[in-house]
């Protein structure tokens, strides 16, 4: 009987082993489980990419221009003690996982071969590390080459029967190293008979078994630590290795565990689906490091998580799964300030024996909490508490901090002894990080960047490792970089790929003279209009300009002209991607971190006076009662007549002798803006306040000279009103054109519960009523919150009301129902950002959508995909908030510097009362600070806290009482805060 097999056999494949396959199981989101078979076509033309090798250059595949990708690995790689002829490094997966910071060093680790096997494993183990590794391979100076060993016939190995995946991958790495060594040796020999310097290809692994097998197979291999030892600055480098691994080995003898075990992923997922567990982001209270909260979709209010045991190794920002605790364990949120610093001063990072998870003092603090919770009525109602049962996603990043002096045993700079020290992060919500270092003496007093590697059940604090030092504490450079890192602001210079997207003419770019030029297509010539811009003094990135003129029918034509950034930044090129990553320009006191390269931001896009610029214009016909008759959107060319500062514009308007058309136009604008503002307030727009101060700096050194509160002029609100109007008009137009994908901005109405506390405080303390049923009601009742003898009181209430609000957010129209579009604060049905495309990415997207809506150009596909836009919105929402935070932190730092060494008495207001302290706000400097009971007198005076009346009665020698909203005189000095190493203003009661 003739017989054939249906099977494709490996052996019977015409002798050539060029086909292999890979089988695995894939579980899909919908719960399906599939067996996947992938065929692998093995090739022989994947180059080794060493500049020593000629044959590979000839066979390597070419791209569409018939060019071979340039070879990466140097022909004269650096050598080391063990490999004097130079080496190419082949790290295994664990080497990257533990030593990524090492590999990123500029000074060491060049000519590295990243095997495909390793790259895939890194991707599976840690996505952030994978991205960093990819970034490394793109860095030309580092010479990292990704070798697709699984696709090259000589280095592909099938998995043996009964072999674990890890063993197989280790074998694949050894095989690749073995092949590389043979290949390079041969390449060098064919190149020249005389050359004897053959670089070794060295595997880097910490796996003992792998090392042993490598030795057996005569494959050069070395541990990461041994390799680093042979380098010059070994001490610093060794500190940068992740502590996760060796930690485990050292600890294995000890059995004491501090924390409960996390549930398995499947158990958590089942629980979350069934509704018995909840998933959310873990947040730690800035006032009390032992109190965290998790907002979960199932409940309106956040669940409380009290104590370390319940937060079970979650770090602020992690995505966690929680389980609600039985009702008898519910507690009220804390009324007490608890800082890690004060409670755990005497922890020893080296020894952990005999410690319990909750130290005795921590326990005491918690007990007091419970007592308080039980003895209270309205405010102190017990809230549901929960405990963390597992962590879905760690959001560990790099943390800035400083070394806790108390944890360092020997401070000698010469001692190279390795010791365990604590790093105290700047962010109070992050626990102390244990770091193993050889250079403790040098690191003291420095701002340090570190990461968390692991947090095991048997370790009270997370383990981490040193990344780099930013510089001396309190030095301007270090502190600025620290806050940029803390708020994740991308501050590196723009890469070359981005700069390549700029117009080739550079600063010489001009609006084309000929009207036939393609640049003029679809553009209106508005050069004859009397346009001017009004901005803060010294502004160089001028986004917007305005004009107004009277029409023959008695109405006015008003135009808002916005820099036409979308003409220069085309969707999906490198510059666009970078801008969408950055999301916004970040303004610090002495520095601006741009979203777009300088050339565009401050020149080509900026609507500078006296030159022609491309613009995107919104033109309205408005009656003298500020009713809009019609609106029109067009791309245009304008020539700004003047760039005013707010103050200059105000002076010019107020000067009756100026009767030129430009000034009269501004007067018209001012008149209209006042009417628009009136209408807005009538519709229920809120006038909120935030403490804003301006730091005056010396121009040369940018050292702070003085702090002032910002002045508001009529011209400020002139610009503001018309920008709001433009944004609202554009939002409506974009939504009409793209009901699913328009990028809009919404401000959700705050839940009533947010105002409960403030309303209660006002009622109890001042007998005032705060209504929050609608924005109109809130606006009106805020107006009535006046105390005649204290003009600032109203502003204080507005500041506090602002903190009860939700934050506004960008969103994509299709993700919300129309009523949800509402902007609560502006009392507008629909809103977007359109007017600052130079410094906000959202505006740039709105420009593109508007351009498509008026059929100026086709819409890019990326702006038609809801999911892509949602991603963009999510990112820019985060960036936006971070930029604000970074800006505030910068002001805080400079205020601190300005007050350095000063001793001033100022008036302030009590904003919040705790049982062991209170928060005072000083309007003059826009600072708020905590005054603890123990700051009032030593020993700490006894005090009674009347939570219902918000009064703290202090006994002892102070003998007085502090109540909410009370005006107090405080003495302002400065001190370096122990816990964060930041210079901060310190307030004391006078």
């Amino acid at each position: 009987m003739e017989y054939f097999s249906l099977k494709r056999s490996n052996a019977a494949d015409r002798g050539g082993l060029n086909l292999s396959s890979k089988v695995y199981v894939r579980s899909t989101k919908s719960g399906k489980v599939q067996k996947i078979v992938r065929e692998l076509y093995l090739r022989q033309d994947i180059p080794c990419s060493s500049n020593l090798c000629r044959p590979c250059l000839e066979t390597a595949p070419t791209d569409y221009t018939k060019k071979v990708a340039p070879f990466v690995l140097s022909d004269t790689p650096a050598g080391s003690k063990n490999f004097p002829n130079g080496q190419y490094l082949v790290p295994d997966t664990n080497a990257f996982l533990t030593g990524m910071d090492l590999f990123e060093m500029e000074t060491a680790f060049h000519d590295v071969i990243v095997l495909q096997t390793v790259l895939e494993e890194v991707k599976n183990r840690s996505l952030p590390l994978y991205h960093r590794l990819i970034a490394l391979t793109k860095n030309e100076g580092k010479r990292f080459y990704v070798f697709f060993n699984e696709f090259r016939q000589e280095t592909h190995i099938p998995r043996d029967v009964g072999e674990t995946i890890n063993d197989r991958n280790d074998r694949a790495v050894r095989k690749a190293v073995e092949w590389y060594n043979q290949h390079i040796t041969q390449a060098v020999k064919t190149r020249s008979k005389s050359q004897m310097r053959i670089p070794s290809v060295v595997m880097i692994t910490d796996d003992r078994d792998n090392l042993r097998k490598a030795k057996m197979e005569k494959v050069p291999a070395i541990t990461l630590a041994d390799f680093v030892f042979s380098l010059e600055n070994a001490d610093e480098l060794l500190d940068m290795m992740s502590a996760a691994q060796d930690q485990r080995e050292v600890r294995s003898k000890k059995t004491e565990v501090f924390y409960g075990e996390h549930y398995t992923v499947s158990k958590m997922m089942t629980g979350v689906k069934a509704g018995t567990m909840h998933q959310g982001i873990f947040n730690v209270s800035p006032y009390n490091y032992l109190e965290g909260s998790v907002h979960v979709p199932a409940f309106d209010k956040s669940l409380l998580i009290l104590g370390r045991e319940n937060s079970n190794r979650a770090v602020s920002g992690d995505v966690v799964v929680v389980e609600v605790l039985p009702q008898d364990q519910w507690k009220a949120p804390s009324t007490k300030i608890i800082e890690e610093e004060t409670l755990n001063k005497n922890d020893n990072p080296e020894v952990e024996d005999g410690e319990t998870i909750v130290s005795e003092r921590e326990r005491k603090a918690l007990q007091e909490e419970v007592k308080r919770a039980h003895g209270q009525s309205s405010e102190g109602k017990p809230l549901p508490t929960a405990r963390v049962v597992g962590i879905v996603k760690r959001n560990w990043r790099q943390y800035v901090g400083h070394i806790d002096q108390g944890s360092v045993r020997s401070t000698s700079k010469t001692s190279r002894q390795q010791q365990m020290v604590f790093l105290v992060p700047m962010d109070k919500r992050i626990p102390k990080i244990r770091i193993r270092t050889r250079q403790a003496g040098e690191l003291l007093g420095q701002r340090i960047l570190a990461t968390i590697d692991s947090w095991d059940r048997d370790s009270r604090y997370p383990m981490g490792h040193f990344v780099r030092s930013l510089g001396e504490l309190e030095s301007k450079g270090a502190e600025t970089e620290a806050l940029l890192l803390e708020w994740d602001v991308q501050y590196k210079p723009f890469p070359k790929t981005v700069l390549d997207c700029l117009p080739a003419e550079g600063h010489d770019w001009k609006v084309p003279a000929s009207l036939d030029d393609p640049g003029w297509k679809g553009r209106k010539n508005l050069r004859d209009l009397l346009v001017c811009s009004i901005d803060p003094p010294g502004c160089v990135d001028i986004d917007d300009a305005l004009h107004a003129r009277k029409l023959q029918n008695g109405n006015f034509e008003v135009g808002v002209h916005i820099a036409d950034v979308s003409h220069f930044v085309k969707p999906n090129n490198a510059m666009d991607k970078e801008a969408s990553q950055r999301g916004t320009t970040v303004y610090l006191v002495d520095k601006r971190i741009d979203m777009l390269p300088m050339l565009l931001g401050t020149d080509l896009c900026s609507l500078k006076p006296y030159v022609e610029r491309y613009a995107f214009s919104v033109l309205w016909e408005i009656t003298s009662d500020a009713d809009i008759v019609s609106s029109q959107f067009t791309k245009s060319v304008i020539r700004s007549r003047e760039a005013f500062s707010y103050e200059q514009a105000q002076i010019r308007i107020d000067d009756a002798s100026q009767q030129d058309d430009l000034t009269n136009g501004m007067r018209t604008l001012l008149m209209l803006s006042k009417k628009l503002k009136q209408k807005r307030y009538e519709a229920g727009a809120l006038n909120l306040a935030s403490p804003e101060v301006k730091v005056q700096t010396e121009s040369e050194t940018s050292d702070p000279v003085d702090v002032q509160t910002k002045k508001l002029l009529d011209t400020n609100s002139l610009v503001e009103e018309f920008m709001l109007l433009a944004n609202i008009s554009v939002a409506a137009k974009n939504y009409e054109a793209f009901p699913q994908t328009a990028l809009l901005r919404r401000h959700a109405a705050p839940p009533k519960t947010n105002f409960e506390e403030l309303a209660n405080q006002l009622k109890v303390k001042k007998g005032l009523e705060l209504r929050s049923d609608s924005s109109k009601a809130l606006a009106d009742s805020l107006d009535t919150c006046v105390v005649p003898e204290e003009p600032f009181f109203n502003t204080l209430v507005r500041i506090m009301a602002t903190r009860c609000m939700m934050s506004a957010e960008y969103f994509c129209a299709g993700t919300q129902a129309y009523p949800e579009f509402r902007h609560y604060g502006l009392a507008s049905e629909i809103y977007t950002h359109f007017t600052s495309p130079i410094r906000r990415y959202a505006d740039l997207e709105a420009h593109r959508q508007l351009a498509a809506a008026i059929e100026y150009e086709a819409l890019d596909p990326s702006l038609q995909s809801k999911s892509k836009l949602e991603g963009v919105c999510k990112n820019i929402n985060v960036r936006h908030r971070n930029a604000q935070m970074a800006g505030r932190a910068s002001i805080e730092y400079y205020v601190g510097q300005a007050l350095k060494g000063k001793d001033i008495t100022e008036e302030g207001f009590v904003m919040k009362v705790f049982s062991n302290g209170f928060v005072v706000f000083v309007p003059r400097f826009g600072i708020e600070s905590l005054i603890r009971l123990r700051d009032l007198a030593t020993p700490e005076p006894e005090a009674q806290f009347d939570a219902e009346n918000y009064v703290l009665k202090v006994g002892g020698e102070v003998n007085g009482s502090v109540e909410l909203f009370e005006k107090v005189n405080v003495r302002i000095t400065d001190e370096v805060e122990q816990s964060t190493g930041k210079r901060k203003v310190k307030l004391t009661l006078v």
Partner: protein
């Protein structure tokens, strides 16, 4: 039962009569004279032919009939059914730590018939034609009868595997294909693997993504229960002779045909047990009868006046050598003899199952 009619045999009554006579001898002489009554036709078999399926097999017989079977498993949610222990249905969150000693016991009797779906495709037949439908129901019945297979598909109270068995006859049905399809299915199931479960108890199932870690549907390393999927063998009776694995021509003279599904049973002393038995209407019932001289007017006989009379006359002439289609079913004694031959030590069942198992091993 409706006759699942396969291809007709073009034999004259005289040939049929001769064939029957040889088979009814003691010892019988089969069409392939080298084979005894218990001998199976030779076959070629291989498994794991379809890389994307959980299990697959292909068997080709010497007469050119060939079958391919693929087994695919999918995770399916079990409909929630209230039970006595309802209180801890979702006990995951309640942190119950009761551990069950034997998860095998847990799954016993929990399987449901709907968890196995079978489709039989035969070239030239629609999928609602009697032959494929009848074959599918016979095969499903034998798989479900013991209840072992469906219990293996139990994952936890909320999830189970659903098994899709696709049977494809690659050639036209030259002989009655039941035994071939059954053996191919048997081999496919025997080599089927399911992804290894990582989650515990009633959690949403989570599986190991390493295919090498997958577990066989019929584990081999359990010496206590080396059970196998059932396999159907065909036996036919001619006179007092019993012949296994008849070919097409032999079937056309069978007195009766029996499909016996058997499986290995470690508990019984013989090592095999019968799962189900069905009689099959043999094609011989439809063969045209020969006309004896006595009934042929051309040869001087008299044509019977009515159909009933013709039958009576034929019965009287049954042993005269003129072909008469057999009537009636299997005799009781023969059935018990067949069963005995199948399950006895070293019997047909052991031989067939052993042979199929050795394909996988070797």
């Amino acid at each position: 039962m409706a006759p699942p009619q396969a291809a007709h045999v073009n034999l004259s009554p005289a040939e049929l009569s001769f064939l029957r006579a040889t088979l009814a001898q003691t010892p019988p002489i089969r069409l392939d004279h080298t084979k005894g009554p218990k001998d199976f036709r030779s076959m070629r078999a291989e498994y794991d032919v379809l890389p994307g399926a959980n299990g697959s097999a292909r068997i080709a017989l010497e007469d050119g009939t060939e079958a391919l079977v693929g087994v695919k498993a999918e995770v399916e949610k079990s409909p929630w059914r209230p039970s006595a222990t309802e209180s801890n249905v979702l006990s995951v969150a309640a942190r119950d730590v009761e551990m069950r000693d034997q998860d095998e016991d847990e799954s016993r009797g929990k399987g449901q018939n709907a968890w196995i779906e079978m489709s039989v495709e035969i070239p030239g037949f629609r999928d609602d034609d009697p032959l494929p439908v009848f074959l599918a129901s016979m095969l499903t019945e034998s798989l479900l009868a013991s209840g072992e297979l469906k219990d293996r598909l139990y994952i936890n109270r909320r999830f189970h595997w659903k098994l899709y068995i696709d049977i494809l006859l690659l050639s036209p049905p030259l002989s009655y294909p039941l035994a071939l399809l059954s053996m191919t299915t048997h081999l496919a199931l025997l080599t089927s693997r399911l992804p290894a479960l990582k989650s515990e108890k009633d959690e949403d199932p989570l599986f190991d993504d390493d295919w090498d870690a997958s577990v066989p549907l019929y584990p081999k390393d359990r010496p206590t229960q080396p059970d196998t999927p059932p396999v159907i063998v065909l036996a036919m009776a001619v006179g007092s002779n019993i012949i296994f694995d008849p070919c097409k021509e032999e079937l056309s003279v069978a007195d009766a045909v029996l499909a016996v599904a058997c499986t290995s049973a470690p508990s019984s002393p013989n090592g095999a047990r019968v799962v189900s038995i069905r009689t099959i209407d043999p094609p011989s019932h439809l063969t045209p009868p020969g006309i004896p001289n006595a009934m042929n007017s051309a040869t001087g006989g008299t044509v019977p006046a009515s159909g009933a009379e013709a039958l009576t006359q034929r019965e009287l002439l049954a042993n005269s050598g003129v072909w008469t289609p057999p009537r009636g079913g299997m005799k009781r004694g023969l059935i018990s003899e067949v069963v005995k031959m199948v399950v006895e030590k070293g019997g047909i069942a052991e031989e067939v199952i052993g042979a199929l198992q050795s394909i996988e091993v070797g």
